[in-house]
Every structure is written in structure tokens, then in C-alpha cells.
Amino acid sequence: MTEIKSHPVDGLLRTDRMPHIWCPGCGVGTSVNCFTRAIEKLEMDLDKLHVVSGIGCTGRVAGYINVDSFHTTHGRALAFATGLSLSRPDSKVVVYSGDGDIAAIGGNHLIHAARRNVDMTVICVNNYTYGMTGGQVTPTTPDKALASTTPFGNFEHTFNIPNLVAASGGTYVARWTVFHVRQLTRAMVSALKHPGFSFIEVLSPCPTLYMRRNKLGAAVNLMEYFKESAVIENGADTRTVALNEGKTVLGEFVNVRLPTLRESYEERMKEALGEKFVPYEGSK
């Protein structure tokens, strides 16, 4: 009889939904692998972990992770997660979505969740394009890059997402690529342990749309590029980490402990109401 071997992280995945929808060479699955390893390493209580996604290729993660998950509307994952985080203070809330979802249509929620230091971890897979709808230009598409809506090259300025989040008030900000799986896993561990708003930008290849259109070769070529262009600068000033040709600055840029939204709220209420204030224990 053939023995069917299970994968070490099968228990964390909804294997009944496999095969997944990601293309060969896509990095989203690799990042999910790192995420499952981080969960295992932290021995997290899976009943107290919630994964929230928006719409898009990375938005499918919520559907594949075998924990309570919420597949929300386009751009609103952080808004949903803010409500979830405040109503379940004993749980860990993770937003797992793409650059288009988090930095474009959901950009407003990103800056305000970071500003409030809401207790959540955001994993933003940046593949430089809207993959699900056919490769249109996003706020993260590099200068002059081709997209289906910029056939002569992108002419808009590009977001430096770590800088955006750090400037907005994010208290943990890191960037890795799907080539750097060990570092990415370690960063996920740190982010999940971090009280407050933690954010990891994960650079990832989109071989089907972004790379093909820009004649960047196969996914492995971008992995090689990630390897060769990587410059690890922990604690780097996020103003200097914009993605430039030939240099990909990676690392843990920000890691400070500041009061979370819930902590600030309780402190203020205690000051204002004294003994009358009863802290919220979470929904049962």
C-alpha cells in the first residue's frame, strides 16, 4: 500500500481546498509556509489566532489557513481587523493581503491603523501589481515598469511602504523577500509577539503578469535578483529604503514599544473616570 505522507504544516492549512490558486513561481505560498512555521515556533493557541484578508491573490490566504479567518471586501481588511482586535483583546489578529489591497484601495485604513497602533500584525505581500485582475498598475509598481494600464511604462511615483507605515506610527516595520525565508519567518515571529501595530512587507515575484510583461524572466530570476540585490540594514531610516534598481534594502527597520490603542484608551479613561471605568474584557 502506498503511504500518503503529510506535510509538516498540513495541520495549519485547509488541505481540502488544495490545489491553491497561485501560479507556479508565485511567492505568496512561500510566505504562507513561513507564516505557518512562525505559528508553530510560537506554539500559538490556534483558537486565539484570526487571519483576515482582503481581495486579490494574497487575499486568498485567509481561505487556506486553518484558523478562524475572515475574507473581507477589497481594501477593508484592516478595518475589519481593527474591530476584531478591539473586541477580542485576548486574541492575535493577523491581516494577510497584497499591496493593491493594503496600500492602494485600503491605504486610508493602513495609515490610521498604524497611527492608532492597533494591536495587529499586517503581512503585506508586494508583487508590484494587481495580479488577480490581470496586472494593472498599482501604487507600488516601480518607475517605468509595464502594466496592463501603463503599456508605455509607469510614470507615477511609487510608494515606499515601510516609510509610509513608519511615518504613520507603526511600531514594528520590517521588509523581507520570499527568498529570505529564514529571516522572514523570524520577522513574523517578532511581529506576532509585538504588542501594537506590526507590519512586514514581503517582496514576492508575480511571474505570470508583472515579470512576463516586464520581460524579467522566470520566478527564479527574481529570486536571484532578491539574493544579489539584498542589503540588510536593520534599523535603517525608512526614508532611505525605497526600492531602487539594483538595491533592495531589507531588515527590521522599526521596533519600538509604544502604548497600543487599547492601552491608550484605558489609560485615558482611567484618568478621566477614575474608579468608575471598567476595562472591557472582550466579547465572549
Binding site: 481581495i55 477589497h74 484601495i105 485582475t133 490581470g134 494593472q136 501604487p139 494600464t149 501603463t150 503599456p151
Partner: protein, 397 residues
């Protein structure tokens, strides 16, 4: 002479918008509309179309941006679907009440949850009350022809309203069919250059969208209601003019083999084309059945519809959206509105079908026909029903 070529409907619609020489396009990607604006961005970049293409960061921004360009006096075009249209909702009312003649194509798709990218009419039907004109194309040719027609209607000085051109997502948008493409020169003979009635202009300043206090709000709404209702005449004229020029005449309400029919199906969208084939088939078996379809949905062509169903005994009304816990499907609701209090009004068998991409096929029509036939034979009118649902679900209202 117009060229007939095999082309994906979405691309043909984009080509038609380009041939209308639109000035501004602001859009955000969403399935199944994406190919329309993608192709327009190519046409702009290739220099075929001299227009501003603005790839905004959400549909809320897309419709806001369109309001801006239309207010500045530009011929404005956009496209969306489903969640995108829902995200535009806030601005939809503003575009209509500011009387900005925007043309928007909507590749109709179901609304979440559950997430579904396939076709039904829940997106357009939830925008019924926003004060836009709404028209439906059943196939690629019609949807393509309706692009210049929509621009002409919207920009007509007797109308000046935004217009939504609906067609079924995937079923129409992604199908390659032979389409007779009108050239820019041909369209120019039908659609004159856009001359805005009023626009934001520093030399002649006006204010758009100020506060409407209780003393004026009702009057503003009354003016809007009159504008939408009175658009009916110009719409009929423009449809007629297009027919005379290019040989394809569209009507606010269209009928198929209804002359001798006692039972008539009422619907809108691409399913009516499938239904035409089904009617042909069952007529060979001696079943006298016809189709009435709404092409124009706003303003609701009340009189034309009444005339189309005059003397009919039973209507089989097919909706692709419904109001849970409410009065059933929107087409059925409005059909009943047109017939309430009429003498010898036909009985109405109301069904909901084709939700979230479920095909409306011959079997579905057979089932609906059976129910209609029972009513014709003196049976009771059954309650509104999700006819394709498994498990015999029978929604009673």
C-alpha cells in the same frame, strides 16, 4: 460601410468608447469589467485616443474623479462591476443630482458574500434609486451600439444625466462574437462634439453641489425626478435616429413572438436571447409563448410595457436579484407597479433565477412555463420562488 469583425465584446465596447472620442476615463480594475478599461488604456497610450486615462486607487475615487472631469466639461467614460459599483454608491447619487452626463458600462456581476465573480443583476438593481438612466444590452453588438447612444442621450440638453449601460458579466463581456464596428467618422455623424450646458469655468464661476436646505431639497429632488422621467422622449428619438442611420433599431421595451401568446416571459439581459431560442423550440410543440424584455430600466417605460403585455393572460417574470424578506425581485415589483389597478391585468408568476453565474437554460424556462401554464389553466398563482435552488426552497411572501 461599417466593418464586421470577430471581437471580444469588452474590446468592442472599449473601441466604441474610443470612437466616441471620450476625453477622460477614470477606472479601477475589477472582474469582469477589466478588459474594457485595459483596452482603453492601450488606445490612449498608442495615441489612437486623445484622452486622459486615470488609473485611480479605488472605485470610490473612480466615480469621484469622473464627477470632476465631467464637471470640468469633459466627455467622461468609466466601467465597473459588482463590488466596484457598490463602492461607488455614495458618488452615484451625486453624479446624478449634479446632472453630470457620465457614461458608465457595468458588466453585471453578483455581490458578496459569498464572494462570487459571476453574473447576476444584484449590482445594478441595488443602484436602482440613484437617479441614473439605466439601459441594458443583451449581446456584444447591442452593448457596443449603445455606447454612442448613451453618450448622445446623456449629453442631450433636454436630458443631462449620467447613464449606466448594463450587460451580463462574462456571458456578454468575455464572449467573442461578430460585431459590426462603427468607425469614428460614422459615429461623428450621429454624436456631435460635446458642448457642456454648464461647467466649472474660472471666467464664469458657478458652485456645484452646495448644501440643499429643507426649503429647497424637495424641489431639487422633484427637478431630478422630472429630468429622469422626461428623458424618455429624447431616448426614444435617439434610439430611432440610430436605427435610421445604422440599421439597428432598439426600443425601450422589446417583444418577441408575443402577438398570439397567452403566456409571456418578462426579463432583461442576455438570458432573453437564450429564451428566444427556447421560444422557437417550444412553439414547434404548439406552445404559444413570447418574450417581453426591458431594454430601458430608468426611466421605467411604463406605457410601452403596458402596451406590450396588453391582453396577455400570464406573465412569467424572471429576476436575477431579489430583496430578501421583501417584495421579491425588482423586475417583478416594478411590473406589478405598472399593472396595479389595470383592468384584466395578467397574473404574475415570479421567479428568481441565474444568481451568481448559475445558467438559465431551457430546463429553467420549461419549469417556469409549467408554472405559468397551471395558472393559465385556472390554478393558483404560486408564491415568489428561487426556482433553481436545490432542496425545493420555496420563499413565501
Amino acid at each position: 460601410m461599417a466593418v464586421r469583425k470577430g471581437i471580444e465584446s469588452s474590446l468592442a465596447i472599449a473601441e466604441a468608447a474610443a470612437a466616441c472620442n471620450v476625453d477622460c476615463i477614470a477606472a479601477y480594475p475589477i472582474t469582469p469589467q477589466t478588459h474594457i478599461v485595459e483596452h482603453l488604456s492601450e488606445l490612449v497610450n498608442d495615441g489612437v485616443l486623445d484622452a486622459e486615462f486615470i488609473p485611480v486607487e479605488s472605485e470610490h475615487s473612480a466615480m469621484s474623479c469622473c464627477c470632476g472631469t465631467a464637471a470640468a466639461g469633459a466627455r467622461t467614460f468609466t466601467a465597473t462591476s459588482s463590488q466596484g459599483l457598490a463602492l461607488m454608491h455614495e458618488i452615484m447619487f451625486i453624479a446624478a443630482n449634479l446632472r453630470l452626463p457620465i457614461v458608465m458600462t457595468v458588466a453585471n456581476r453578483a455581490l458578496s458574500a459569498p464572494i462570487n465573480i459571476w453574473n447576476d443583476h444584484s449590482d445594478v438593481m441595488t443602484e436602482r434609486d440613484c437617479g441614473w438612466l439605466q439601459i441594458f444590452g443583451e449581446n456584444g453588438q447591442e452593448s457596443t451600439d449603445l455606447v454612442p447612444i448613451c453618450h448622445k442621450i446623456a449629453e442631450d440638453k433636454r436630458v443631462l444625466l449620467p447613464i449606466m449601460l448594463n450587460f451580463d458579466g462574462f456571458i456578454v463581456s468575455h464572449v467573442v462574437e461578430p460585431i459590426e464596428m462603427l468607425t469614428r467618422e460614422e459615429i461623428a455623424t450621429f454624436l456631435p462634439d460635446y458642448e457642456p450646458q454648464q461647467r466649472l469655468d474660472v471666467d464664469n464661476p458657478i458652485t456645484m453641489g452646495p448644501v440643499g436646505m429643507p426649503e429647497v431639497y424637495t424641489e431639487a429632488k422633484m427637478a431630478h425626478e422630472a429630468a429622469v422621467r422626461n428623458a424618455y422622449g429624447p431616448i426614444c428619438e435617439i434610439l430611432e435616429e440610430f436605427g435610421q442611420k445604422f440599421g439597428r433599431t432598439y426600443k425601450p421595451v422589446e417583444t418577441y413572438k408575443t402577438e398570439d401568446a397567452d403566456i409571456v416571459f418578462v426579463m432583461m439581459g442576455a438570458a432573453s436571447e437564450t429564451c428566444m431560442s427556447w421560444v422557437d423550440k417550444v412553439r414547434e410543440q404548439g406552445k404559444k409563448v413570447g418574450i417581453v424584455r426591458f431594454r430601458l430600466w430608468r426611466p421605467l417605460p411604463v406605457e410601452a410595457f403596458k402596451e406590450a403585455v396588453q391582453g396577455k393572460k400570464v406573465l412569467g417574470i424572471i429576476d436575477r436579484h431579489f430583496s430578501p424578506g421583501g417584495a421579491g425581485g425588482p423586475v417583478a415589483q416594478e411590473v406589478k407597479y405598472t399593472l396595479y389597478g389595470e383592468k384584466d391585468a395578467p397574473k404574475a408568476v415570479e421567479v428568481v433565477a441565474g444568481l451568481g453565474g448559475r445558467d438559465i437554460d431551457f430546463d429553467t424556462f420549461d419549469k417556469i412555463f409549467d408554472r405559468c401554464q397551471k395558472v393559465l389553466d385556472g390554478g393558483e398563482v404560486p408564491p415568489f420562488e428561487l426556482i433553481q435552488a436545490r432542496g425545493g426552497h420555496y420563499g413565501k411572501i
